[in-house]
Symmetry: C2
């Protein structure tokens, strides 16, 4: 019987009781319900690092904007399919201020969370390019996006960046794209779960391929501006959020309100379609839907049929946040920089106790500290580590389901409050002693 923070037998019995075995079939939901059981049975706190859920309070700017919009009667009238003018203007200005790109208000379309924006994007690709039936995911990534493709009926393949950065990445992508069956490429930047950020030379290389093979990039900016190595918080000033938008017109940027603005509960994001792509006419859209223009199809066929647009008051909230950020009145990164501080603390503890980072550099430079990072302990699989950490009252998420070929687990910093620091350190040190 090992000396573990949570009683060894209790944890083992709970895992067996739930039929979780070696954890190879365990979902994030299973891990959460196991953790809950253990908290009840042992009376001890479990440190939740498995979630990808923001844990900060949103700005009053958003709440007040919603209340005002409701008081002024927005609840009764349908929102326009492409969004209210206010958020379209604000998002266009925000893109200029923090990404340094020019996107007309017309191409800035609010969606019911970025989730709906990516669903609409994949659906648009399917109908615009029926001759190209496969989406290419640069992995690791958010598993729900491949599930979206399954729901829509699109094939998908993945390329794990672990072995492919820089020139190797571009060469490998060229090889894949030369099959001419790829309608679009998806990646998140910073990357969930590894917090890898593509360098400009990589973005430029991807852009050249996208132009060469005429496909579209979906750049998922769920963790917008959270590359804390550079201060991206000053509007209309360099440095800007890195983006492929500088190098190609074939892009859609997914900007989310959930993480950067801690507004996940209200489901708001903005899909930003390049000016050129918005107006590009695809013959199969024209033939099958009577609207050939990509952006027009996106708004008036997809946003219309998916939900008749996005909740009215929430558009005002997101617009107000973007306006305040552009005016320099609200530094949204001040709030979320806390995630970086937490990541730094946890990495220090883990790395000085035998753990190592799985995805560990950006072409030689150390990764930023942010919302997520990935670690592993020598001599274990990711499932073994996930299971073993349960005995130490720490829940993590194995990389298996995220398209990674590497052994490792994802650590999310969002629920790691300051008070947990001593407990975390103590448990990790005990883990080290026992292994």
């Amino acid at each position: 019987m090992k000396n573990t923070p949570l009683n060894y037998e209790t944890v083992t019995n709970a895992i067996e009781g739930m039929g979780l075995g070696d954890f190879s079939q365990a979902t994030i939901r299973d891990l959460q319900s196991l953790a809950k059981q253990l908290e009840e049975k042992t009376g001890q706190q479990v440190i939740h690092l498995e979630m990808g859920v923001p844990g900060l309070k949103p700005s009053d700017i958003a709440i007040e904007a919603e209340k005002k919009a409701l008081a002024e009667g927005c609840a009764t009238t349908y929102p326009p399919n492409g969004g209210i003018p206010r958020i379209k203007q604000a998002a266009s200005r925000f893109a200029k201020a923090f990404i340094g790109v020019d996107i007309d208000p017309l191409g800035c379309i609010p969606t019911t969370g970025s989730m709906q924006g990516t669903f609409a994007t994949f659906t648009a690709w399917r109908h615009a390019m029926p001759e190209k039936d496969t989406v290419l995911f640069i992995h690791p990534g958010f598993p729900v996006q491949t599930a979206q493709c399954d729901v829509i009926g699109l094939k998908h393949i993945g390329l794990d960046i672990h072995g492919y950065r820089g020139e190797a990445l571009i060469k490998k992508l060229d090889e894949i794209l030369s099959q001419n069956n790829i309608c679009g490429i998806v990646y998140s930047n910073p990357n969930n779960p590894s917090w890898v950020c593509f360098k400009d030379e990589e973005l430029k290389g991807i852009a050249e391929l996208v132009n060469k093979y005429d496909c579209i990039v979906l750049e998922d900016l769920a963790y917008f501006a959270m590359d804390f190595r550079r201060d991206l918080s000053h509007p209309f000033e360099e440095p800007y959020q890195a983006t492929i938008a500088h190098y190609t017109d074939n892009y859609i940027l997914a900007v989310s309100g959930s993480k950067a603005f801690s507004y996940a509960g209200q489901r708001i994001g903005v899909a930003c379609i390049s000016n050129k792509l918005y107006h590009r006419v695809y013959p199969s859209l024209e033939k099958n839907f009577g609207v050939g223009e990509f952006g027009n199809f996106f708004c008036n066929r997809l946003m219309y049929t998916l939900s008749s647009g996005t909740t009215h008051s929430v558009q005002h909230a997101m617009a107000a946040l973007m306006e305040a950020a552009c005016d320099g009145k609200y530094n949204f990164l001040n709030d979320v920089r806390e995630y970086g501080r937490r990541a730094k603390f946890m990495k220090d503890v883990l790395l000085s106790n035998g753990f190592y980072l799985v995805y560990d550099n950006d072409l030689g430079a150390p990764l930023a500290d942010g919302f997520y990072f990935t670690v592993q302990y020598p001599g274990m699989t990711d499932l073994q580590l996930t299971r073993e950490l349960m005995y130490y009252g720490i829940t993590v998420f194995p990389l298996d389901t995220m398209g990674s070929n590497e052994q490792g687990v994802r650590i999310c910093t969002s629920f790691f409050s300051k008070e947990l620091e001593p407990l975390f350190k103590e448990r990790i040190e005990l883990f080290k002693q026992n292994h």
Copy 2:
């Protein structure tokens, strides 16, 4: 040159300037922008009867519930895929109180407007029954629902009820269903645009066929309880909203917050899945998505991938409205009964000036007065009537696009305020004189 309320030449020029010709290609959007032009050019008011948009102020109950939920912090945390417990409970109780059916809270799933609920429903059918590739619409109906099928990649066919009511309807449906390619049947009750309401004998007949051929009904209750011939406003008392749910388990009811609660701007509806259907396991769902149970698939694969659930604060608003209605504290029909009063006035004017109702009875009984009705003028096509009424400053919507085989136009009562009555009467009388 005819003596028309809006200058004949101005209207003709505007129609020609927009390239609308005989109106056969005109969309509702074209009609609206034509009307706007005419208002600007003539300085005269256009009476808008083309929209299907609620025009009433929503109850403070909803607005206050949203503000309270926001103040309490709902904006930061993701809503559960299947909805918050409060709305699930409230919707289950509401179904009992006003429809007289027992649906567990588990099966009551809030959606981003009924629009998302029907999108999810069609998507669920596609994946649950891949061997049945066609949806059957009982027409006339809401054209966006057939567009949803096009986006999803489902075939669809329609049956116009104009020639088929009662036994003839059931016989014809049996003939269609015997092809065994129909996964589901869709109708709205009361019907948009005709305001036809199915009788219980018809609902029972459809239910028997649904059981016989093992398909699913989507009953669209967008105009919930607005059959004003019967007072459906008393909770837990007969009469109830007519529904197929009394006769089969193979149903999904789409309850909308947009019309009954005048809450269209916030995008909220509830999809109510029968207890039996919720738990039914479909092998192809299990095989392709790892979740065989229909309701579980609906929540955790569809509502998850479509938008990660429904905006948090709006769920509270809809729940609060349903709770107040069930408690007898809020008679939501008092507000919308105004639509019936308007319909009665307009029908009186039109019918005494040579117009006739297109869809004109429910198995012999007069139709209710409500949100919509359909009329025509002798000796014209619906496009001619739509075009001609423009000269009289009245915008209507031709039935062409709604799956009807009949000549006629849809009149929506939602923007017809009391002050417009004399103007409307005067213009229709002049129309009569000129034709």
